[in-house]
């Protein structure tokens, strides 16, 4: 068989194997296989190889199929969700509308005492907090660690292997965690 004939046969085999051949092409393939044993053997080789490779590919992908599947949503699941939302809404409405007697809550803050509402709907005016006067000047304190010349010390942290460097050189004192076990 020539190269051109081989190529034509390959195309014919491919089309038959892929179910793309017309009835005429299929009949031609069958006739060629019947009349020429070497063509029949070649076609059988093609078919067997194609099937084996296809099976191997499918087996490989089957091993990789996703193993999680969405659960079907049952009617009682939806009904349960609706019931839960309705119950939560009722509770919230009750808590909002029911007036709380004064002094029944936790330890009252100045704000609570000032507000002390008879009803949640009574108009309230927020009270201003008392703020200490801010000092206009800042004097840096002299801090020295006893027995140490430098102005920083290392102390163990809360966890094993964590140490803190405490350094005084600015207005604020920085505590820097050091994540290194040395």
């Amino acid at each position: 068989m020539t190269t051109t004939t081989n190529e034509r046969l390959e195309h014919l085999f491919s089309r038959v194997l892929d179910d793309e051949a017309t009835p005429a092409e299929r009949a031609l393939c069958e006739a060629l296989c019947r009349e020429h044993p070497q063509v029949g053997a070649a076609f059988e080789d093609y078919r067997r190889l194609d099937q084996a490779v296809g099976d191997a590919l499918r087996a490989t992908m089957r091993q990789r199929q996703p193993r999680t599947y969405p659960l079907p949503v049952r009617w009682w699941t939806r009904a349960g969700k609706v019931t839960a939302v309705a119950a939560a809404a009722c509770l919230a409405a009750f808590a909002w509308l029911h007036p709380r007697p004064p002094g029944s809550g936790p330890a009252s803050t100045p704000f609570r005492q000032a507000a002390a509402p008879v009803s949640w709907f009574a108009p309230t005016t927020p009270q201003r907090d008392t703020v200490e006067p801010v000092p206009t000047t800042y004097e840096r304190p002299t801090v020295r660690v006893r027995g140490v010349e430098r102005q920083w010390i290392i102390v163990p942290g809360d966890e094993p292997g964590v140490y803190r460097i405490i350094q005084v050189d600015r207005v604020r004192t920085h505590a820097i965690p050091v994540h290194r076990d040395f």
Binding site: E7, E10, H11, F13, S14, R15, D18, D19, E20, E44, D45, Y46, R48, L49, D50, A52, V53, G54, A56, L57, R58, A59, T60, M61, Q63, R64, P66, P70
Partner: protein, 188 residues
């Protein structure tokens, strides 16, 4: 417009509006072939699970850029292909730093009559899959889609942007290369 195209347009519109279940429906309908496409591009089954998640994430990010919902499958294939290529290159860089174990070791199938048969079957499967993996991507993509998804030439051509004749030629060449590689390795 055909009924299928109209259905697809409606599904995409629902997914864009964020309707519950619409996105899940798209995933359910297309996830299997997206997995096959990843395998066709990368030839590495162990990358499929990770890459398929990245692909769907990209799909939701870029769904608004899809101009023609009727071409969703071709668009999705291009997203899958680009993501798979990126993932494959990243995997190659990662693997270059390690000495891999045997990639093709298939698990033993206990339904086989004996361990020797199982090993032989596993080895044959590894040989066949290895041959497909060694095909140039040009030929591997249509070949894998043909066998895993049973798509016809027109469907393969649609997602790959090829004519039916080109798809046929590439399948013929894929089979020729496989025949050369596997000559005498598949018993009658």
């Amino acid at each position: 417009m055909t009924a299928d195209a109209e259905t697809m347009r409606e599904r995409i519109a629902r997914a864009r509006r964020g309707e519950p279940g619409a996105a899940a429906r798209l995933v359910r309908d297309h996830d299997a072939w997206v997995r096959s496409a990843i395998y066709a591009v990368t030839a590495r089954s162990e990358l499929v699970d990770d890459l398929v998640q990245q692909i769907w994430t990209r799909v939701w990010e870029r769904l608004d850029t899809l101009e023609n919902p009727e071409q969703f499958r071709a668009w999705l294939y291009s997203v899958a292909r680009n993501t798979a290529l990126d993932g494959s290159m990243a995997d190659k860089r990662r693997r270059s730093r390690f000495t891999p174990l045997d990639d093709h070791a298939a698990p033993l199938d206990r339904r086989q009559p004996g361990p020797l048969a199982a090993v032989a079957r596993g080895e044959l499967q590894a040989t066949l899959v290895g041959a497909v993996q060694s095909l140039p991507a040009l030929y591997r993509e249509p070949f894998v889609l043909r066998h895993l998804e049973d798509w016809n030439y027109a469907e393969i051509g649609q997602v790959l942007g090829l004519s039916v004749e080109t798809v046929e030629t590439r399948l013929v060449r894929a089979r020729r290369l496989l025949r050369e590689m596997l000559q005498g390795k598949v018993e009658p």
